[in-house]
């Protein structure tokens, strides 16, 4: 009763796509054109038509998923999108008859392959990262984690108020020079080499033996708090990194789809115009 998009209805769409691919391959081997395999034979036109229709239909998902409240299951559509989209690799490649060149036709093919490959990463991301994300968060929500970090900062400032400047400075560094997120590369790396909290933690660790006796206990407490904050920061950065992995491929997939549509229209138009 409960299926993921890959296993939807016993992989109904995988089977459908597999049949489609097998039939295409058999037709390709069985059919020996007078000339050579290319998009201009009747099989080439057939495969091209199927491929183009598939591409338009696959793109329709973008509209479909925004039709909220309609009577359909989006995960079924995604399942079909995934498997039929992958089947394009076979259909479109055989449509080309392995004839490539520096022209708009091959451009359309290349764009399509970029879309499929980015989608392939999407499948990988959607199967792998959700679980990793849950494990990383250990039941807390992102808001909880951020709130905890805020609480630690507040507490650190209170503790640091009566302490010598050398210690208070480190607390300020931890509170004010810690960034979460930032540039794309930083988000994707899941780390921050110039993290104020990590630096403050390291310096505090060496410093803790040097402070006067009366401040030693408070400083040790700071060390524990900032250490805990660094742990939380690792979790938060990892969380944002994983979310980015799950989102970023769409930044390639969707614009490339639009480019593909444009190239595809030109491809079809030019084929018929210069018949």
């Amino acid at each position: 009763m409960h299926d993921g998009f890959l296993t939807y209805q016993n992989m109904k769409f995988l089977k459908m796509a597999a049949v489609l691919c097998v039939v295409t391959v058999i037709a390709y081997i069985w059919y020996q054109p007078i000339d050579e395999h290319n998009g201009g034979t009747w099989l080439g036109y057939t495969l091209g038509t199927i491929g183009a229709l598939l591409i338009f239909w696959l793109t329709w998902l973008g509209i479909r998923k925004r039709r909220y409240g309609a009577n359909f299951s989006l995960s079924a559509w995604v399942s079909a999108h995934v498997y039929l989209g992958l089947s394009l690799i076979v259909i479109a490649t055989l449509h080309t008859g392995f004839q490539f060149g520096w022209n708009v036709h091959t451009l359309a093919y290349v764009l399509m392959m970029i879309v499929i490959i980015s989608g392939g990463f999407g499948i990988y991301a959607y199967t792998r990262y959700p679980k990793v994300m849950s494990e990383n968060r250990r039941g807390s929500s992102l808001d909880d984690l951020l709130a905890q970090i805020g609480d630690i900062d507040r507490e650190c400032r209170q503790i640091a108020a009566p302490l010598p400047d050398s210690v208070a400075e480190l607390v300020v560094q931890s509170c004010e020079h810690t960034k979460i997120g930032g540039s794309l590369l930083r988000i994707l790396s899941g780390k921050d080499k110039s993290c104020g909290s990590t630096a403050a933690f390291e310096r505090l660790r060496t410093h803790v033996s040097e402070v006067e006796q009366e401040h030693a206990q408070a400083t040790r407490k700071l060390l524990v708090l900032i250490g805990k904050k660094c742990g939380l920061l690792t979790t938060v950065r990892r969380d944002i990194q994983l979310k980015a992995f799950m989102d970023i491929w769409l930044r390639v997939h969707v614009p490339m789809t639009v480019a593909l549509l444009a190239a595809l229209v030109i491809h079809i138009f030019s084929v018929f115009y210069y018949w």
């Binding site: 409960h2 925004r66 909220y68 409240g69 959700p130 849950s134 968060r137 039941g139 979310k243 799950m246």
Partner: protein, 796 residues
Amino acid sequence: MADHYDIAIVGSGPSGLSAGARAAQKGINHILLETTDHASDTIYKFQKKKFVMATPDVMPLRSDVSFEVGIREDILETWDREIDEQKINISYKSEVTAITGEKDNFTLKIKDGRTITANHVVLSIGMQGNIRKLDVDGDDWEGVQYQLDDPEEYEDERIIVVGAGDAAIENAVALAAQNKVALVNRKGEFARVKSGNLTLITESIESGLLECYYNASTARVTPGEIILKVPEGETVVPCERIIARLGAMAPRGFVESCGIKFTSEDRSALPDLSEKYESSVPGLYVVGALAGYPLIKLAMNQGYEVVETISGNNIAPADEPLLEEKFASLEGRAVNEVLQTIQENVPLLSHMSALQFREFMIDSTIHRVQKDDVIFLRNDYTNSVYSIVEGSVSALINPDDASERVKLKKGSFFGEMGLIAGRRRTATIVANEDSFLVETPRRAMLRLINSVPGSKKVLDTAAIYRQIQTHLAPNIEKELLKDIVDSAAVESLSAGDVLINQGDDADSVFLIRSGSFVVSSLIGGRDVVLSYIPSGNYIGEMALLTEAPRSATVKATVASEVIKIDAAAFRALLKTEHELRREIEAKFQDRMVENLETEERPEAGDVIDFLVGQGVGEASDVLLIDESLCVRCDNCEKACAETHGGISRLNREAGPTFETLHVPTSCRHCEHPHCMSDCPADAIHRAPDGEVFIDDTCIGCGNCAGNCPYGVIQLAYPAKEKPGLLSWLLFGSGPGPGQDKASGKKVEGARSMAAKCDMCKDIEGGASCVSACPTGAAIRVKPEEFLSITNLAKAG
């Protein structure tokens, strides 16, 4: 020479005003006497902007003065206008100090020295003119007051509220927003308050919003402080203001001085009145709260009726046309005749007084059904009770075999499980012949059970029979079950109570009437949850077959009710009924196999344990997210907002997670919804398919949000209309689909309303959070399916 009137009406509350208006309409020479300088002082003294209800809803208003639900100000304004328009002869500042004389010759003394004579007197002075005072030394201090008009008038004061009723609680909490408030409660708890107010005050005290002195009473007052008698002795509490809300009582001294007799010596007793509201003094009538009818609409109807009675019209009760309309399908049978037939034929309804029964029938529906008509289907979510006045029906108790029927004869009733558990119907009911049925909604039926002990007893015994027949012994004659039913008793349990202990003697079997239970067993020194059992099932059934000790422990997950059946009585039956024994053994084997499967996977038990801990024990449908599939796209929230006026009713990220099973903050459609318990506008309902939803009559009071233990109801302003998909896509007129899912901004003139999940009951595609999930991570689960959900945790 004193002014003489045909009717003198004393008191201009709802009933007096209505009487005055009727008299004015009929051109009767009348006077309406009011102590204060404004009409309807009780309502005038309501807290500002108080929402005034017009219950009972079904009762039509019969008055020349209009009245409908609304805020205090609007109602008073309307009445003031209508007093002028209808030329009601009202005399303000005319406190009546004495009424003497007899019919056609009453004399009323007014405080300012005037006297008035009248042929008839209608006494409609209510109770609030006689509010209870503190009655201690120093209570004449100017800081002592007995009402609160506008809590926002006071700021930064220390205020003591004396009393523990609804008015005291409402005042105290409202004042606490900007003052330091302490409540003085004579008792150790808050008994006899509306459940919403109980939650309100308990939370306010727990959160430190206000203080409460329990078991405390006022010893005396000095300017600037109140001295309280508390269990430890006396304590002095400084304060700027004391607000005492101690209720009111009938102004008995005055009423008795008019010669009116009371029904008893009891302090709360009411005047002794005839059916036409005439008191023991002929010509002197009593209506409204003083007559025992504190509801505004009923009081207004009485004011109308009493004037009609005085002018010689013997008018039928206000509900007569309603009943006539209801009985229209019965072709020409008179209302009284129908009422009598129903009460004679159905023992369950025979214990009500004529007045109670009329009210009951107004809430009910009449059905004429023909042979083979379906009354309701198995798994329907309706919760009304049917009584068979004429004809008979059959219950199809086996979904796979339509021939397995239990016949229900004239005078019996069915559907009563709906009263106890908010679960689906357990059988399909079909008419055997042309029949006449009365369908009563749950609320009216519960009122009957609570107020008429005779009906409760009839219902309970019959329900036990029915449940034993349905669940344990479908084909056994009623007579054979007599010993078993006689041995049965209903037991109530609180959440966490243990029903069965592992190792105990197995002497009884339990049928779950309401609530749900978890079964757990000590395996390897650890308490492992084996299964979850919702209402309508039985527990401890092994006791029917063997006398071996209990093999597992059973605990209630929420407040629950079970029928305890003596196993020995049942075993005696099994000795003669071999077929039944075979059936029961077969049923139990399934349960055993299920338990064994769970024992092999202890993690499944942990999942049940977790779900029960999240309150799904009382859920009828809950949204779960399989986090191993959830890509955190929030499309579920977007879909929810898009299909519900821009406000998402679910928060995906909030809520606890167990391994990869996440319970987002979303309505569980509880078996007995907490939100429904105190909705002044009666805007929360259960749809036929089980969805609990809030309709447009919501007044935005927030009671439901406060009562929901799962925090799934929010008060929100309606969002703006969105542009179409294409104009967003091509021209960028935003926000687009899925964007800006909770604006929450106050729109000018808009009123906030409570918003919660309605399971997309009006949407073709079903729950849109589920249909919009791209990966199949969001699922909706019913209690029966919890066990299969445990597989999800394993696969995940």
